[in-house]
């Protein structure tokens, strides 16, 4: 069996940045496993611009952003095994993959999980009705249009107003389809304001908040969808149903980290993020296995994926070079009042990056609130914010000095409080 230092599962933005992070830290024997024929992941089909504002201080398209990282990976001569699908990872870090050579088995000193996420499908929503052609997830439609050059339909309704749904509303309109409406279950959109204005308002596409699709109608092809207004418990209100004739329904209803391989490796997953539970180095519950990017928790900005993945790469490299696990003294990060989760979940003040970014999401929209950080029951910092929304990932910064000031604090708590 071939033995390598570091295996990175996935050659999207997370995998590419993780490889660079590890390489810069001194590990050279790296392999990136990529199941597609080209690296870059989902960025290859995200042809719109707005990527890289934090990292490069300019607005790039998805393929341009991917290329900047890919060029560095190629310059560092880090091999990318293309058309290679990883089938299994053991807790002992043996990887089984399949490609044109057949079955490949590799043992790695460390593994970085960077498989990304997938879209929630129709089956996850239980929309009643028939099962005709013409129902796509927004990302599938995006692939058909932007990579293959096929238009998936002419008369379109989009369920879900996350950024992918909004971006596809504009894209399909520009390509000649008619987008009748974007239907959103919640009373607010989780998409960026910029996308609501530039993808919907610019083209006069209505955004129907507090509405949902209650039935799909059509024999061979979608013929219409029934939509209805929902109450504050998200239940359809009788009498508000209306029929929209269309041939296509796009679903943009959330993303799920793709963690089948993590499970086979015995990695503990968080029921909230669907991704691994990690410490400040982004190491999972299995020693020598790290996670980053959308497989860890779904991001809205690729810049933060790259930043997080560089850390995973550096951490994996340090683990490999020391070739032993250091004794850690983990302090848990507790979430309270409005904070759904944090990444990481644990931190060792003596070994952590200083400063350390702790990322989190809130559970609903908060106006004029404060983000508070407690060490034990002592308030350490609090930051006023005009608005917090579930669609935008937030972060707080922890420093070693804070832990020294509050030596002996059993935990760190992050909470949203009224200003």
């Amino acid at each position: 069996m071939q033995e390598i230092d570091l295996a990175i599962i996935g050659g999207g933005p997370a995998g590419l940045a993780a490889a660079l992070g590890a390489h810069a830290e001194g590990v050279k024997d790296i392999v990136i496993f990529e199941r597609d024929s080209a690296p870059g992941g989902i960025l290859n089909q995200c042809i719109h611009n707005g990527f890289g504002l934090h990292t490069f201080k300019e607005e790039l398209t998805g393929p341009e952003y991917a290329e900047r990282f890919l060029q560095q990976v190629l310059a560092a001569k880090i091999p990318i095994w293309r058309n290679t699908m990883v089938l299994d990872i053991t807790p002992g870090r043996v990887i089984t993959a399949v490609n044109e050579q057949g079955e490949v088995k590799v043992k790695a000193k460390a593994i970085i999980l960077a498989m990304g996420c997938r879209e929630r499908p129709r089956g996850a929503l239980n929309i009643p009705g028939t099962r005709p052609a013409g129902i796509f997830t927004a990302g599938t439609a995006q692939k058909y249009v932007n990579l293959n050059g096929y238009l998936p339909g002419r008369e379109v309704v989009i369920l879900g107003s996350g950024d992918i749904g909004l971006i596809m509303a504009r894209r399909l309109t520009l390509e000649g389809a008619h987008v009748q409406a974007v239907v959103e279950l919640m009373p607010f959109s989780t998409g960026l304001k910029r996308n609501i204005v530039q993808c919907l308002d610019d083209f006069g596409i209505p955004l129907m908040l507090s509405h949902t699709v209650t039935e799909i109608i059509g024999k061979k092809r979608v013929e219409a969808v029934k939509i209805a207004q929902v109450d504050d418990k998200r239940q359809p209100i009788a009498g508000t149903e209306q029929l929209i004739k269309c041939d296509t329904l796009l679903l943009s209803v959330g993303l799920l980290p793709e963690n089948e391989l993590s499970k086979s490796a015995g990695v503990q997953l968080s029921p909230i993020t669907g991704g691994a539970v990690v410490d400040d180095r982004l190491q999972t519950s299995v020693e020598g296995i790290f996670a980053c990017g959308n497989v860890l928790h779904v991001h809205d900005l690729v810049d933060f994926v790259s930043e997080e993945s560089m850390l995973a790469g550096r951490s994996a490299a340090r683990y490999i070079l020391k070739n032993q696990s250091q004794k850690r003294h983990n302090i848990p990060i507790i979430t309270k009042q409005g904070v759904r989760y944090t990444v990481p979940s644990f931190v060792d003040p003596a070994l952590m990056d200083d400063p350390l970014a702790v990322r989190f999401r809130v559970d609903k929209v908060y106006r004029d609130h404060r983000i508070c950080v407690y060490f034990g029951d002592q308030l350490e910092t609090s930051r006023k914010t005009r608005i917090l929304t579930p669609g935008e990932m937030e972060s707080v910064t922890l420093t070693r000095a804070m832990f020294e000031k509050h030596a002996g604090a059993p935990s760190v708590t992050i909470a949203i409080e009224e200003a």
């Binding site: 393929p63 290329e67 249009v145 050059g149 609501i196 530039q198």
Partner: protein, 119 residues
């Protein structure tokens, strides 16, 4: 009266623009400087960077992503899309290559946003 949604942050202030009897414009509803600047630009010269694809021959996928290398007037987006419809290119392509020069007289070029190596 015209209503705009500010795009600078998640608050999304509703900015209204009205013209009084003397023909003076009043911009209201913004809560920071960026909002005022945004409203002024949207009123006088709204522009957008257009991103799309053109046919690609000899590549791993059928489409090549492209963009305008500068924002173009909002009213020209449709013309720009029509101008791209018949365009097809052959691999190899380098990101940044000019695909269409001075698209629709906007002064902006259509450039490739992905490098496609020779197969």
């Amino acid at each position: 009266m015209k209503t705009l949604t500010c795009i600078n942050c998640p608050i999304g202030c509703q900015i209204t623009v009205s013209t009084d009897a003397q023909g003076v414009q009043h911009i209201e509803g913004y809560t920071c400087k960026r909002g005022l600047t945004y409203a002024q630009t949207e009123l006088t010269n709204p522009t957008r960077t257009v991103t799309s694809t053109v046919r690609l021959h000899g590549g791993p996928v059928g489409q090549l992503p492209v963009k305008t290398d500068a924002p173009i007037p909002k009213g020209k987006i449709k013309d720009c899309m029509l101008a791209l419809k018949p365009v097809a290119v052959n691999a190899p392509v380098q990101a940044g290559d000019i695909i269409v020069r001075d698209v629709c007289g906007t002064g902006a070029n259509i450039i490739a946003t992905r490098s496609i190596p020779a197969q």
